[in-house]
């Protein structure tokens, strides 16, 4: 068991690439932290520096309170699960899982006991004497997990461990990983580019972009109070809608009409009177106006728009509507769109807005319909640097203990794709 502390960690590759820039992160003992971000943002590099597989160019890395910058991987008491699994092809499952113990000169009887125990947890008992080539993808993945578990290390490091599985198995193994981590209570750093995985797994999620840490928070806070445009656009699926808006006192002029600003944003708005900002609203903050009436939802704002397309998912309906005002324009947005794949950031180059409606909705594509939006859920961002305006700053502060974090389990999660 150990806590991990990254103090100003920087990685410069010999070719001059700065893959990780001044990364500060404290990970509590037993905590499950996810590093998430688009491909190439430096997640793997950061993880590999913690593992000791990559030299740290600047900054200090502490594991269990000790500076380990100069320690070899084998002296850091860590176990790592690789994206490729990196199973030893010439060894059986038993030998693969027992290899670390064998190197540590654990007597054979105890080694076998530990391997069998881990195999039991992972449902691998009947495959112990097979070679990796004769296992299915899911089984190989579990052997890779098993190899880490058997050693009972103080830290688990996982680099996109599920990305080679098919969609169904991935969801299944996600639950499995979560179950195992809770059972063992081992400090875990988990890297993924999949925001759904990040939101469902971690006690806390650290969002990275282009080598820089954007925000570290519980999944719920990331979702509800993103620190900037990037986090807002990256977390959540379908992504948040962005549009241009002008601050006018306590009101906001949006393409949907003039809407009142929620109280939490008023202080920030006061200092930015007359300014053009980027406003954001998640798909579920919209509703079919008729249904909103029936549910007697308070506040909010109604508007009419043409429906371009509807997609019924059974439990919800996505309606795509066309914005009649200005498309939000910002270099930040354009970059985010490029980072995350243009189509995933509404407003990032398109003027389409995604809304998530109750399944009872009678909205049809090609028709005009009345919509309702929840003004309480509005986010506004500075168009120059993308920071979120009027966000409660104190939520980032300290790392919550894992126990506290788990109590937040009930928090609404990003709707999974």
């Amino acid at each position: 068991m150990a806590d991990i502390e990254l103090q100003g960690i920087t990685k410069r590759y010999p070719d001059g690439t700065e893959a990780v820039k001044d990364l500060n992160l404290k990970i509590a003992d037993g905590e499950f932290v996810i590093l998430v971000g688009p491909s190439g943002c430096g997640k793997s590099t950061a993880l590999r520096m913690i593992a000791g597989l990559e030299d740290i160019s600047d900054g200090e890395l502490l594991i269990g309170g000790q500076v380990v910058n100069e320690r070899a991987p084998k002296d850091r008491d860590i176990a790592m699960v690789f994206q490729s699994y990196a199973l030893y092809p010439h060894m059986t499952v038993r030998q693969n899982m027992g290899f670390a113990l064998e190197l540590a000169k654990v007597p054979e009887a105890e080694r076998n006991r530990k391997v069998e125990e881990a195999a039991e947890i992972l449902d691998l008992t009947q495959h112990l004497d097979r070679k990796p080539a004769n296992l299915s993808g899911g089984q190989r993945q579990r052997v890779a997990m098993g190899r880490a578990i058997v050693r009972d290390p103080s830290v688990f490091l996982m680099d996109e461990p599920l990305s080679n599985l098919d969609a169904k198995l991935r969801v299944q193994m996600r639950t499995e990983v979560s179950r195992i981590q809770q059972r063992l209570g081992t400090t875990t750093v988990y890297v993924t580019h999949d925001q759904t995985e990040a939101m469902t797994l971690g006690d806390r999620v650290a969002v990275m972009r282009a080598g820089r840490l954007q925000q570290v928070d519980s999944p719920r806070n990331l979702y509800e109070q993103p620190a900037n445009l990037f986090v807002a656009g990256f977390i959540g699926s379908p992504a948040m809608n962005f549009f241009s808006a002008d601050i006018d006192g306590d009101r906001l002029a949006t393409p949907f009409g003039d809407v009142p600003l929620p109280h939490r944003l008023r202080a920030a708005a006061a200092s930015a009177h007359g300014k053009r900002v980027i406003a954001g609203l998640r798909p579920e903050s919209f509703e079919d106006a008729e249904i909103a009436h029936q549910q007697n939802r308070q506040g909010g704002h109604e508007f009419e728009a043409e429906v371009e397309l509807t997609e019924s998912m059974g439990s919800e309906v996505y309606a795509y509507i066309r914005l009649e005002g200005d498309v939000a324009e910002s270099d930040e947005l354009a970059e985010i769109a490029a980072d995350t794949g243009a189509s995933e950031v509404p407003g990032g180059g398109t003027s389409q807005v995604v809304t998530r409606l109750s399944p009872e909705t009678s909205v049809r594509h090609g028709e005009r319909a009345r919509f309702w939006l929840d003004t309480d859920k509005l986010h506004i961002f500075d168009p120059d640097d993308g920071t979120s305006l009027g966000r409660e700053q104190d939520v980032v502060a300290a790392a919550p203990s894992p126990a506290e974090a788990r109590q937040e389990e009930a928090a609404p999660r990003a709707p999974s794709a």
């Binding site: 593992a51 176990a79 790592m80 490729s84 990196a86 092809p89 290899f99 190197l103 050693r151």
Partner: protein, 279 residues
Amino acid sequence: MRHGTREYTTWSIAIAAVFVFAMFPVLWIVSLSFKTPATVGDGRLVPKEWTFANYNALFSGGLDSPLLRPLINSILIALIATTIAVAIASLAAYAISRLDFPGKFVVLGGALAVSMFPPISVVGPLFDMWRALGLYDTYPGLIIPYLTFALPLAIYILVAFFREIPWDLEEAAQVDGATPFQAFRRIIFPLAAPGVFTAAILVFIFAWNDFVFAISLTSSNNSRTVPAAIAFFTGESQFTSPTGNIAAAAVLVTVPIIVFVLIFQRRIVAGLTAGAVKG
């Protein structure tokens, strides 16, 4: 798969032709080795009278016999050279394939340059040097030049094999607590086994078949290998040529190589085709 009869026939004829072309000289040597001195020149493939005299003559007289001592020398020298070459080549190839160090291409290029040198051009100087150093007519006197010429090839083969082995495996081993040497010995080396065997066979055959160094750098049965020893065969009298004996020795010399190759055949095939299909 099903083949048409015509296709089948064509292939059969082609294979038979290649087989005869390749096997005829071998059969001829075998045949010669069973002929009596009187019938050696009769031009028949199947000997009129069969005799083992040629073989017996090679081994009569125990250690002083024409072939026994050279055979032992050949086996030991080839095995020692192979072992050392494979050990050194795997370490060198590992470094070349895994590490970024200055002068990597100089090492590889230098190795290639060495193997391009015609052996005959270094034999003269070596003769003088070995005489001065006391290596003339000793095992090391042959093993050293064999290593020089076999190592580049072995290194080239092994570099190709090591490159095929994913980095991840080694990093996994490091994280599992292995020292770099343990990672090499327990993970990388076993996985490169087909390459190691391929390299071993090629080095062995090179050392086993060498004539130029063996004839120039030895002077007695202390270290003379079979190819050189054969050149010293004498007929029963001044006027008979030792054709039968030479043929018998050639047959005997080929046997160990065939055994060696047969034992490791599957490994070699795996080795030669490795990388063609991703596992």
